[in-house]
């Protein structure tokens, strides 16, 4: 059974620009998106910043009305049957906002339990269980304002689970967390899956989608550019290899020049501390190295290596080098 069904979903924002002469400009945040998520699935929506992920989630959680197209959660329409949907879903939007900072974790959860009509006899145990699930049981009586970012984001998850929803929307749950905090949170998400929840997760980290999701939709500029299992997405780049060139300062226009080369499929750049690493995808493998070096004439070059493509490279190929 499909828990989430989306058909040709589109959302346009009207943004006002200019202060004196006010003009409205239309921003197409979600262009034309269709996909289904079945019961118990952990589905990933992966895309760079501004791709339209949050807008999709806001429409699915009844907070935004679609400009056109339809979306149904457990058969109910997000625009016309919001009242049917709200009791059955939980949602979080990444980041620290959305909690009452002057209240304790316990009070936050007690409050949301009442908003979701959880029986007071049930909610007491449920709150205890959730605090433990997200590892906040020791500090649950402290005010939220003193929590670390990771603790706040875990409290969000507990909040979203207070009424034991069937469908869960997690919009960039690990955004802004340090690696340890992010890993802890992914652990929590993985555990939720063993509870048979249907989860839609958005992220702009390929490895996160790979580690958690059964299927991934890659979204860019409001459209889905690929939708498949992580394994199948990796096959998109199986005939390519990646040459990594360590460089010290490259002029912008070089990327364009590199992309134009017939033997170059795609170029991404990763900034490290002192250096940048050019990642050039090419079907010619290490044979392409000399041509590449020739093109980089005048640029200081460090280590050059050639490697097998990863899922990250598949992502780069789908959305361009701007990860």
């Amino acid at each position: 059974m499909n828990m989430i069904e989306i058909n040709n979903l589109r959302r346009v924002y009207k943004a006002t620009i200019g202060t004196l002469r006010r003009k409205t400009k239309e921003v197409v945040a979600v262009d034309d998106i269709s996909f289904n998520v079945s019961a118990g699935e952990l589905f990933g929506l992966l895309g760079p910043n501004g791709a339209g992920k949050t807008t999709v989630v806001k429409m699915l959680t009844t907070l935004l009305i679609p400009t056109s197209g339809t979306a149904r959660i457990m058969g109910a329409d997000v625009e016309k049957e919001a009242e049917k949907i709200r009791p059955k879903i939980g949602f979080i939007f990444g980041g620290e906002r959305g909690l009452y900072w002057r209240l304790s974790a316990q009070d936050n959860l007690r409050y949301f339990a009442s908003l979701y009509h959880v029986d007071p006899n049930v909610s007491k145990k449920r709150i205890e269980y959730l605090l433990e699930l997200v590892g906040l049981e020791d500090r649950s009586k402290e005010k939220v304002e003193g929590y670390s970012r990771g603790m706040k984001q875990r409290l969000h998850i507990a909040r979203a689970l207070i009424h034991d929803p069937e469908v869960l929307f997690l919009d960039e749950p690990t955004i802004g967390l340090d690696p340890v905090g992010a890993r802890k949170l992914r652990e929590v998400i993985r555990n939720l899956q063993s509870e048979q929840k249907t989860i839609l997760l958005t992220t702009h980290y390929m490895f996160e989608a790979d580690a958690l999701c059964q299927r991934i939709a890659v979204i860019d500029h409001g459209n889905i550019v690929a939708l498949d299992t992580p394994e199948a997405l990796k096959k998109l780049v199986k005939d390519l290899s990646v040459i990594e060139v360590e460089v010290f300062g490259v002029p912008e226009e070089l990327f364009g020049r590199l992309r134009e080369q017939p033997f170059v499929d795609n170029v991404a750049v990763e900034n490290r501390e002192q250096t940048q690493v050019l990642m050039v995808q090419t079907p010619r493998g290490s044979e392409a190295v000399p041509d590449l070096i020739a093109l980089l004439d005048g640029v200081r070059i460090g280590k050059v290596t050639s490697r097998e493509p990863t899922l990250e490279d598949a992502y780069v190929r789908l959305v361009g080098g701007e990860t």
Binding site: E83, G98, W101, Y111, P120
Partner: protein, 265 residues
């Protein structure tokens, strides 16, 4: 509405009330609005109204208490929706199965009840510190008037909150509404001293009738007929606000979902 729903909503009102109080006690702006500002007004009014006859002390207490009630309504209840928007909790509220007016009702109730402390503070100042004798001459009627006042202010809070759902910019108008209402509603001066064209305006404002009922019953100048009129008007306005706010919230929430104004950009 089913019995179960009524029970859940009552719980939401109780918890919204509790959480609002817990958050408010830590807020300096709120303490200023409900305690400090009315005390300043009390002192000013005591000085200005000194030669108004013997009942003026109680008039000052009630009047400055009402300024606290109105200001807290205007700023705290009005801003509460904006505050939820800024902290990102407005989306969590709207996305929950509870209609948002139930939450707003609980919060407004907390705001109105806590602002009765303005009256208490003013009473303590005038009677215990300045030593004026204060007596409420018709205590039974006064208590009824207080209850009606609370209800009509809470209902008014609902209207204001619904307008804030859709228009965050409304805040700019707030300051402009503070003192004119003090004056138009006769909190501290009888409206008889105003030009006559403003009188119909006063009649249209529930706080005017609240001030009539509270002043009248406390200084004993009120007949049962006058009081019934004032209570009737408050009941009428409360009911109108309540009915109107249901509709307003529905329209405003839909508009907010179209215009994407629930979150913050």
């Amino acid at each position: 509405m089913s019995w179960q729903k009524i029970r859940s909503y009552t719980r939401v009102v109780a918890l919204s009330f509790e959480m609002a109080l817990r958050q408010n006690v830590a807020d300096a702006f709120i303490l200023f609005t409900i305690i400090v500002q009315p005390l300043i007004i009390t002192i000013l009014a005591l000085l200005m109204l000194r030669d108004q006859g013997e009942n003026y002390a109680i008039f000052v207490v009630i009047g400055s208490g009402m300024t606290g009630l109105w200001s807290s309504m205007l700023f705290i209840s009005g801003n509460s929706i904006n505050l939820e928007r800024w902290t990102g909790t407005l989306e969590s509220l709207v996305g929950s199965p509870t209609p948002i007016q139930v939450v707003v009702f609980g919060k407004s109730l907390a705001n109105v009840l806590q602002s009765l402390f303005s009256m208490l503070g003013s009473y303590i100042l005038v009677s215990l510190i300045f030593g004026f004798p204060i007596k409420i001459l018709q205590p039974g009627l006064f208590i009824i008037a207080v209850i009606f006042t609370i209800i009509s202010f809470v209902c008014f809070g609902l209207i204001m909150a619904s307008l804030f759902v859709v228009n965050p910019d409304l805040q700019r108008w707030q300051n402009g509404l503070e003192f004119p209402i003090y004056i138009l509603c006769g909190f501290l001066f009888p409206i008889a001293i105003l030009p006559s064209w403003t009188t119909p305006l006063s009649y249209l404002l529930a706080p005017y009738w609240a001030a009539q009922a509270l002043h009248g019953s406390s200084n004993g100048s009120m007949t049962i007929g006058d009081l019934s009129l004032a209570l009737g008007m408050m009941a009428f306005f409360s009911f109108t606000y309540l009915a109107l706010s249901g509709r307003l919230f529905r329209v405003m929430l839909r508009k907010a979902r179209v215009d994407a104004t629930l979150g913050m950009q």
